[in-house]
């Protein structure tokens, strides 16, 4: 049994609820920073990929988990960030920090442009429209050959910050730290947003558009902000992805990538920053787990095993834990905190009351 006694409103506002909380996240960050000293180059590459996935996941989580706008088109924004960053560096000779920043900003602006037609679409229809966007993107990349290199693709130049060359192959630790730094900044900004009025407005339009409006929240502006911020972060993830892959073409950014990103945040737990990170870790760990099992059992590679394991996980989560891994872990934590006073039906799923959708 643990009880947190509150004496000041700031305790509900500040970044960490209490000292223990701050220490927990602090040691987690320290562990992440020290990772290059314990992992070999291959595993460090996997860790880097997890961090990039987490950034992309946070981008989509903001839009889908918090603002309630489903997107099956985020591969388009990953592609946009990736290509814009590489083109700005290759053809315009911009330094990496500037090109990287602009890649996010341009994806964000494109996100706002997508938000305008998306204002009239809800749920399934929005999902279909964004899916179409994802399909279009592949074709556009091929057609825009002069810039994108068509089917051959592009290579991302080596990033350099203030004279420090961050070569993904020669200095994987530097590249990992770069990604981690971006991820930490995005996480902080995300967290700040959630404790501010705009973050609450996102939750409001997710849960009830009609009463959000009655509370003075403009649907158009809030959705535009959600799309803009989400696509900006996704664009940054895309830019890092480009450097991570070194060379890429249209085949990297297929619909499958969009779907995988969406399923990743569902498994992690919609509606929380934790969910994006958990989802990224799971997506990153599945191939490793398969490798371990394969080495132990000694069988040859089974094609499609990764995808099917992922699919089975999704089915299990949707059936038994719609709140994702984060929801499950939260329940265990509450159970521990309340021990031994937890009631058996405490986490029973509530049937919600009927509500009219007349004005949607």
């Amino acid at each position: 049994m643990r009880f947190r006694f509150k004496e000041h409103y700031d305790q509900d506002i500040r970044l960490f609820a209490d000292l223990a909380d701050g220490l927990r996240y602090g040691s987690l960050l320290l562990g992440a920073v020290l990772l290059p000293f314990v992992l070999d180059d291959f595993l460090l590459g996997e860790a880097t990929s997890v961090v990039i996935w987490a950034i992309a996941g946070m981008g989509l989580m903001l839009l889908t988990g918090h603002a309630g706008q489903v997107s099956l088109g985020h591969a388009a924004f990953l592609a946009l960030g990736c290509y814009v960053n590489a083109i700005l560096m290759n053809s315009f000779g911009l330094p990496f920090p500037l090109a990287f920043l602009l890649a996010g900003v341009i994806s964000g602006l494109c996100g706002v442009a997508v938000a305008i037609p998306a204002l009239r679409l809800h749920g399934l229809y929005l999902a279909i429209a964004t899916l179409a966007l994802s399909m279009l993107t592949e074709d556009i990349i091929v057609l825009a050959e002069p810039w994108t290199g068509g089917v051959i693709g592009l290579t991302a130049p080596t990033p350099e910050i203030a004279g420090l060359v961050i070569d993904r192959y020669a200095a994987p630790d530097l590249f990992y730290w770069l990604c981690l730094g971006v991820a930490v900044l995005v996480t902080l900004g995300y967290r700040n947003l959630l404790r501010s009025p705009l973050g609450r407005a996102f939750i409001a339009i997710r849960d009830s558009e009609i009463s959000a409006q009655a509370a003075g929240i403009s649907l158009a502006r809030t959705k535009a902000a959600a799309f803009g911020l989400s696509c900006m972060v996704t664009g940054w993830a895309g830019a890092l992805m480009g450097h991570f892959f070194y060379s890429f073409n249209h085949e990297v950014f297929t619909i499958i990538l969009s779907i995988q990103l969406l399923l990743m945040i569902v498994i992690g737990g919609l509606g929380s920053i934790h969910g994006a990170w958990y989802g990224a870790v799971i997506v990153g760990l599945i191939p490793q787990a398969i490798n371990l099992v394969r080495d132990a059992v000694g069988t040859v590679a089974v094609p499609g095993l990764e995808t099917s394991l992922f699919s089975v996980l999704i089915v299990l989560f949707v059936l038994y834990e719609p709140h994702g891994l984060h929801g499950r872990l939260t329940k265990w934590k509450v159970w521990l905190d309340l021990f031994p006073f937890c009631r058996r039906d405490m986490f029973r799923r509530q049937k919600s009351y009927l509500r009219t959708e007349r004005f949607r």
Binding site: P197, A204, I210, G216, Q350
Partner: protein, 258 residues
Amino acid sequence: MTLLETEAVTVRFGGVVALHEVCLQVQSGEIFAIVGPNGAGKSTLFNLVSRFLDPDTGDIRFEGRSLLAQPPSAIAGLGIARTFQNIELFDHASVLQNLLIGRHTSRRASLPAQLLFLPSVRREEIAHREAVEQVIDFLELQPYRERMIAGLPYGIRKVVELGRALATGPKLVLLDEPASGLSVEETRDMGFWIRDLRDRMGITVVMVEHDMNLVSAISDRVLALSEGRVVVTGPPELVQSHPEVVSAYLGDAPEAVK
């Protein structure tokens, strides 16, 4: 002073005339009740004021200015808050967050300031919290602050919805059936609160309500609607005994008895 005024508003849904040339005037500081059988057009009237619907003809004025040019999201900023007949809360957020969303119109911080959570944002958040805590104290919601809406009993949700309306700092609240589905004690508390928010906070109240005991106990004036037309407006006793109101509610019972 007239706070809210509709001028011959008519609303049609296809062939259904939901409101027919309805005129009403709500004075500042009064508790104004709207009664009428199901489908009379009471909620439609509220949705007009909230700007979720456009009238086919007529005008709606608040503090002398027409509301027709305003989008729905501008209404709260003018000082009109409302609750919904079917409770429209933010289900996957806590009571505290729901009430804080009510403070949306008084936010000041820019987007970059929010992303960086500058000290000014922190100060603003604490001010919002203080305003919300006053609402929590008023409505005795202290035990529920951190609870998710999805797990709350119906009666408490009704109170939270009233709280969210009050958190906007309104001049006028529109309450759509505040006591429907509440127990006798909860209805009595709701009656006290509605009267208190007028007496202590100076908020004008327009409410739609079927519970005639509550209506006659707290309202100053009552408007009876039937099939989209105003039957009568006046003090509760008068409206309650008006023959047309009685027949609208009960059908032409006296004839049947004979």
